[in-house]
């Protein structure tokens, strides 16, 4: 079973600072991590490999520094990593990102399963997984919360929907995007880290891939960012303090009055 996991390196956003002048993110000193939602994809891929044999290849398109994400993926238990990196890829939107990733996956070789994250926490689109499936004509299941069974040529999965779950059966090769419920991601082991250190990570550039230049980077991207604003956070609402029984009573009464005014009750 050959499994490919596309992962994205994202800025660690728990303490993101925005430049109020330009509305852009201050990237200095911001650490890069594997997209947290991709850890679940890595985890389930490794579990499936452990059960059914085969290998897991993590692939990322990004700057040379994204190598670090691949090393981490290997430290968790992925067998190989592939970095897809070229100046010509810069500025790609989801369409062009998926286009290049598809070419890279085809280059990696025979694939039985592609497992992507639900979405990346920076761009937050969740489009790249379904994009890849469409371009490769792979059967697709999104928002997968459980792999119920797997055989050599088919799998049954549970997919989260607004109403609950649905069970789908897909022939292999296929593509899944997975949600957090699927499993809890393991931590890298010491042995894994050592293996990551000595594992060679190939870089695919434009020259290595069968790509059309017109489909790359900004040129290949149908979408354009027109403007970026930093939304105001403050609402300046009414804040009441409770210090004793009386103020507690008043605060709750005030809240109920507020709810009536807003027609909540």
């Amino acid at each position: 079973m050959n499994i490919v996991v596309p992962i994205k390196q994202v800025p660690e956003t728990s303490n993101v600072k925005m430049d109020p002048e330009t509305g852009t993110m201050i990237r200095d000193g911001v650490e890069s991590i594997i997209n947290p939602l991709d850890l679940y994809a890595i985890e389930i891929a490794i579990q499936l490999k452990e059960k059914f044999g085969g290998k897991v290849t993590a692939v990322t398109m990004g700057p040379p520094a994204a190598n670090k994400a691949l090393k981490e993926a290997i430290a968790m238990g992925c067998d190989e990593g592939v970095l897809v990196s070229d100046r010509k890829f810069a500025g790609a939107d989801t369409w062009s990102t998926a286009y290049v990733l598809v070419k890279a996956i085809e280059r990696i070789g025979e694939v039985d399963l592609v497992v992507a994250g639900e979405r990346a926490t920076d761009g937050d689109t969740g489009q790249v997984g379904p994009n890849i499936a469409a371009a490769m004509n792979l059967p697709l299941a999104t928002y997968v919360s459980k792999v119920e069974s797997l055989t050599e040529n088919s799998m049954t999965v549970e997919r989260l929907t607004e109403e609950g779950y649905e069970k789908l059966q897909l022939p292999l090769p296929a593509l899944l995007t997975v949600v957090k419920e699927i499993s809890y991601p393991r931590l890298p082991t010491l042995r894994g880290k050592q293996r990551a250190k000595i594992t060679d990570i190939p870089t695919y550039t434009v020259a290595d891939l069968d790509v059309e230049e017109n489909n790359l980077g900004l040129k290949g991207s149908p979408t354009r960012v027109v403007k970026i604003e930093t939304p105001k956070v403050t609402r300046g609402g009414k804040i009441l303090k409770v210090v004793d029984d009386q103020s507690l009573n008043e605060a709750v009464d005030n809240l109920i009055a507020f709810m009536k005014m807003k027609e909540i009750i």
Partner: protein
């Protein structure tokens, strides 16, 4: 042929239409009026009740295109994508909108990839650019830290998914008339590879927090699982549902589908209650756009107060029971 018309994708479920189908029409109506073009609701699926189909027109559509077949009863993205692409190619709409639901967010990227169209995810605002007539699509990104406005100047149709609950359906207008156009389902568009085996409707805690007008959330300040019962009591009285912060979900006090935030769900209810939630940026990313935010926290410097319309600095274990008690009398 020129690309013309605004399409919104209706979502069917068990012979009925989901509310998002109507929300999209109020978005689409504004755009269509501004462009002076037709607003079309596209319905792909199994059989849907006649009166609900007519309601699409009463709530804003000029035309409803229906592709109906038993084989379309269940959402299978490959087949739906084939059908939608076929319609787009023959009728050439200028704009295609779907709801940012699990199915919308699966179908739209599938279609956009195949036809090389620009697609913007989870928009909260849509408008028309003055000189060019291009669709301006605004969406929060980077954990809600920024609002990005995006357009697709050179590719058609311009595609976007729209956050559920970010607009209200138009009132029913009995005098509105429109065309209902049935398009036969061509069997060669059916992709038989993926099989739908079963639908499992979730239990009470699995309710979709994105569809509710009222979300009552608890965080680490709730201290333990049992205390969530107070949140359910409040939610029941108000006809709402219970959500949670990641810390509460990680501790097993609530389930993952209830998680609000960057790595959980984004909700835009009329009212969001935050009990014992500090308001970390990742949590705010999922609820900041709620119409009204009410919070209770012992820490007067908690960030959650900055985004609140009404806040109580106090112990939730005093406030919540008293609130429930008083409300029980009010709503009776």
């Amino acid at each position: 042929m020129e690309y013309k018309g605004v399409w919104t994708i209706a979502e069917a479920y068990e012979g009925d239409l989901k509310a998002v189908s109507f929300e999209l029409l109020s978005r689409g109506r504004k755009l269509a009026d501004e462009l002076n073009e037709e607003l079309v609701s596209v319905l792909i699926g199994g059989k849907v009740k006649e009166e609900r189909v007519n309601e699409l027109i009463k709530r804003g559509a000029d035309r409803v295109i229906i592709v109906e077949d038993q084989l379309l009863d269940r959402f299978i993205v490959e087949t739906y994508s084939n059908v939608l692409i076929d319609l787009i190619k023959s009728k050439k709409p200028e704009i295609v909108l779907s709801a940012a639901t699990v199915n919308g967010r699966t179908l739209m990227p599938h279609v956009a990839m195949k036809i090389h169209a620009g697609l913007t995810a989870d928009c909260t605002e849509l408008g028309i650019e003055e000189k060019t007539g291009n669709l301006l699509q605004t969406r929060p990104a980077i954990g809600g830290n920024i609002l990005a406005t995006i357009k697709s100047p050179d590719s058609r149709p311009q595609m976007a998914t729209v956050r559920p609950k970010s607009s209200r359906p138009l009132e029913i207008d009995e005098t509105r008339t429109g065309v209902i156009e049935r398009v036969a389902f061509q069997k060669n568009l059916f992709d038989s590879r993926v099989k739908h085996l079963e639908t499992i409707i979730g239990g009470e805690d699995d309710v979709n927090i994105q569809e509710s007008d009222i979300v009552v959330s608890g965080g680490k300040g709730m201290k333990k699982s049992d205390n969530f019962k107070m949140l359910y009591d409040l939610a029941h009285m108000l006809g709402g549902v219970v959500g949670a912060s990641r810390d509460a979900v990680d501790r097993g006090w609530a389930k993952y589908p209830q998680q609000v935030g960057l790595s959980g769900k984004t909700v835009t209810p009329n009212v969001y209650f935050a009990f014992g939630i500090s308001g970390a940026i990742q949590h705010l990313a999922g609820m900041k756009t709620a119409e009204t935010i009410i919070s209770v926290n012992t820490d007067e410097d908690a960030t959650i107060f900055q985004v609140s319309d009404f806040g109580i600095v106090g112990d939730l274990f005093e406030v919540l029971p008293l609130l429930n008690e008083k409300l029980a009398k009010e709503v009776k």
